[in-house]
Symmetry: D2
Subunit: 341 residues, 4 copies
């Protein structure tokens, strides 16, 4: 079976596992105070060119989203997101469970539009009854988006500009950040992205780790008591080293970028194969998730040999489906899939 279900269907990149094995018997304190967590944080600060950044390691994406958002919002504030945003759709109401509304704005290929955000803010403050409404207190986006699309540097700068003028932190969900930054269509570097937001996370789970996301706060943004809040939400691992060692491995000798580039390259080959075979694209993604449209017959045939995701049934009876690549995708898998088309 060819496996394109997602980028979290295997264990971790062999070099990550190797590093876990090498460090396994070394005694170190728990709760993230180990040497690898410190070393990894240092490497991340360097990679972000932000030497005073505060770095924390959490286990997963939903956890990172809910811990960061509920730490930054005041009691009466809500988070603004694209209507297709992960926090608005696929996190089981996690943000609301912490007491905050998600204000959903229209998504354009998964992206928020800066002008629409500004219009929303202007309308909010112009409304005489706005004290009776949850205040838009921060903005959440993801890079790449749910549809694998990317904010350009100009788009991100425009959004961040609105956020700063409106005094709202901008938070970037980077569960698949590596695949965004190594995309041929990406026009920004990690330090450039870091400079265009207040807090973001660098995803590990979907980019070669067993688990783990690295939250990076611009200096001065991280609220007092953040460590206690992670404990309060069950997000602090006793063996914090599990996260530290993995991120240390990922950010040694460029492994994170190597993994990301590999997956994107295979995704581009996969996309080319579909296009060549006349399958229309459902979304124009330059990253490791590819969305194509299949007829019911094509879908049925492919399902016999390949594992992939049905994204949405279309009104005309066809299906939008998703194929995802990762470090574990072998070039020959793409060849094999291509042969099936």
């Amino acid at each position: 079976m060819l496996y394109f279900l997602s980028d979290y269907t295997e264990g971790c990149h062999p070099k990550v596992l190797e590093r876990l094995a090498e460090t396994n018997l070394v005694s170190q304190p728990g709760y993230g105070e180990d040497i690898w967590s410190r070393a990894a944080a240092e490497k991340l600060r360097a990679a972000c060119a932000m030497p005073e950044a505060e770095v924390f390691f959490l286990s997963g994406g939903t956890q990172a989203n809910l811990v960061v958002i509920s730490a930054l919002l005041r009691r009466h504030e809500a988070v603004v997101a694209a209507e297709t945003g992960h926090i608005n759709v696929h996190e089981a109401g996690a943000i609301e469970f912490t007491g905050h509304k998600v204000i959903a704005l229209p998504a354009h290929e998964g992206k928020l539009d800066a002008a629409e955000l500004e219009a929303h803010m202007a309308a909010f403050y112009a409304d005489a009854t706005h004290a009776h409404m949850p205040f838009p207190g921060m903005v959440y986006i993801s890079q790449p988006t749910e549809l694998g699309t990317l904010y350009s540097r100009a788009e991100l700068a425009a959004l961040y500009d609105v956020c700063r003028r409106r005094d709202m932190p901008l938070f970037i969900d980077g569960a698949r950040l590596g695949y965004g930054l190594t995309s041929p269509k990406c026009d920004m570097t990690l330090p450039e992205l870091a400079a265009l937001c207040d807090v973001f996370y660098i995803g590990g789970t979907k980019v070669g780790a067993l688990c783990g996301e690295a939250v990076v706060f611009r200096p001065g943004v991280c609220p007092r008591g953040f460590v206690t809040m992670t404990k309060q939400q069950g997000a602090m691992l006793a063996k914090g080293r599990l996260l530290g060692v993995q991120f240390d491995a990922l950010f040694t000798d460029g492994l994170y970028w190597e993994i990301s580039r590999h997956a994107v390259a295979q995704a581009m080959r996969l996309r080319a194969a579909f296009v060549e075979k006349g399958c229309p694209l459902y979304a124009d993604s330059p990253t490791n998730q590819q969305f194509v449209i299949l007829t019911a017959e094509q879908k049925a045939r492919l399902e016999k040999e390949a594992a992939f995701n049905v994204w949405a049934p279309l009104p005309d009876g066809r299906f939008a489906v998703r194929f995802v690549t990762s470090w574990a995708t072998r070039p020959e898998d793409i060849d094999a899939l291509r042969a099936l088309l």
Copy 2:
């Protein structure tokens, strides 16, 4: 440095790591729907002699506590715990953050007393104003307790009897369950424990895994929507296999019990060494945590060569300190420590 700081200061037992390596490249679905999670659940049901139990894997102890407790309590209910209970002291207000009070009853060497629980319940319902008070809705204990002590089978049966009469689920935090069940002082088996509560967890993080706790619900206890609740609290790993593989390894060929017995045996040797050298015990623990009393001078001397925990300063200037053993404790470490005393 001799390391007795805790049972989460190394990676995982080598056999667990081996199993992670063996399975690393196998493609499997995420979110706990992999073959190892299923196999591990099956092995746990067998080990508990409870073939219809529902088993879920979560990342850590605080997470397991807050997810289970907030899933079982109704809106207006509180959880009863010993005043020294982990949820009442060291979880950063995690239970309260989910909206529920912790009702603290007196602790007797870390344990709740069944008669006191019954008296509390009787007084609660006798109070004419009890509709203005949070209802005691479930009971939380840990086995072993924070002080390494154990409930006897009779004590647990008495507690569970009160719980059933009062229609309150009984939940056992088993973060160190292995060390309890393999203690020479323990008079119950895992199936016996499973039969004397409604839900409990078998700790992995502190018993040889990198992370992971296995929550076991007696049939009929697990609330509808529990999986969604784990997602809602950021407690669902995309690579659920990380937990499944580790528990599969721990419950293959008795590894969990082997790890536990080893740590308890070393703890008993450590205890004997302290007693022999005339250091008084702070608590009478038959499990892998040993609490002894040191003078300031003894403490200062030992700290040069060994890592351990200061539990509490005592009024007379001495210190209660904690030494913990694990799978990673080598017999020669105990010898070396003994030589230092």
Copy 3:
């Protein structure tokens, strides 16, 4: 100044005040256990033709909404509402503060459509990832809606039918229920409405009381512990009699209906005046709130002599404005306003 700002800009109907004065010195227990609260509940059960209904008095609309919704939803469930629904827009994120998402469906003149609700439910359960999404757990509507419009009996029956098939309680916000049921366009009685939902409230604050809403649960719907939940949310008045006495007065000799009919009659006169003068209607409301469109010039002129609400600025420079009537609206006020047009 002619006052059409809202239906809560005066005190209470004189007969309500009279009843407060008459009963003022009578000693009665607190917390709603007084004779008037009991009598009022009995009168409401009779008015609803639901002799086993459970009735509770709360202080205000947002309070009633958040207490009822958070009492009925399970931990992982969300409430479905029209996107224009009060809970989704003007309650400061009150529902989310209790931990639950508001799922907003399209509004048709303020109303939910039964077919769209069913389509939403079907799509939800058909989605393979729905366990990662908040479950639609109940439905919230208001009668009349935010725009003063009414559900017909057939529309309500269709909605309730979907709710019952999908096992979701239907909750009707009746903050202005009197104005709905006495509208010339209304085709249902109070007992008929009561029979087409699981819980609703009969608004007092906006229909002649100083404060107070009467929540009516169909038998078997009210969750165990509801009284404790009202206390837990600060919604229980020590002098519960304040609410009981007022509802007792409102439901004696048909005062509630008299107040409602009066306000609707004046609203119909007001509407006729605007229509006659050529002012277009912004919404077609048959109840006590009238929405008309004014030019900037008309608005500026009227504002000198009358108090009303700007509902929304329109793209063409005109304004949607709202005029509201109540028991306190004098027929001569309408005449005077008419003369101003």
Copy 4:
């Protein structure tokens, strides 16, 4: 029947009712923006000698407690209270429902001790694991306490001193504040009390109003968005005038003090009667609640003619009972009760 059940068993003081009647037909905006709410706030600022204080009116005591506490605490903080404090015992877990722990310290006749508070704080910060514990973020006391006792000015100053050094706001629950400040044993004025805390409320419900508590924030303490938070918790009345008019009446011509003095005077007569008849006092209260000890026989006899509260059954078979006076207590009621003893 002689009625001593509580101070909320009648309506409101006749002068309050009169003022409600006088203002009933005046049209004014809702949500506390009416002229009386403004006038009352001004009168309260004057009474507190704090011209820049921020004043808000809420409906009841539990509501005031939960709204203020959850507005002032950060996410990871808890409120410190006496173990007998109302928020710890009789508010149905309201504080915890907003996500925060109540840290209970020993009560001395219902009061917190400054030295014990400081010792708690010192121990907290000395604990190496304190980042894993909820941070003590504010202190809650009541004046008078649950037992009717009073903090002296020196005691209050000592507590506030600890609070300021530890950077924790001090909040005083003044549900019965009038009865405290007019007690013959009270050594502080309202301005003095206001100067020895950060926020407090002046109770109306139990001191002559139908409902209402006036929250007074020292300048700079009230968090941004507080009005929105009151809406978010269902604590904002549409007819905010109901609270404004009542407090305006209570603080006109010293009515609040007159009511309070009357009740305390009657309580002192009642106390003298019990003492004279040889009934021991259960608590030494100089305010409007009197706690005495009755034998079962005395209790049974009195219950035939008088309504009062059983506070607690005593181990020796006797009962601690509570008698409460208010504006509605007639001097002849005390005479009658005395005759019964």
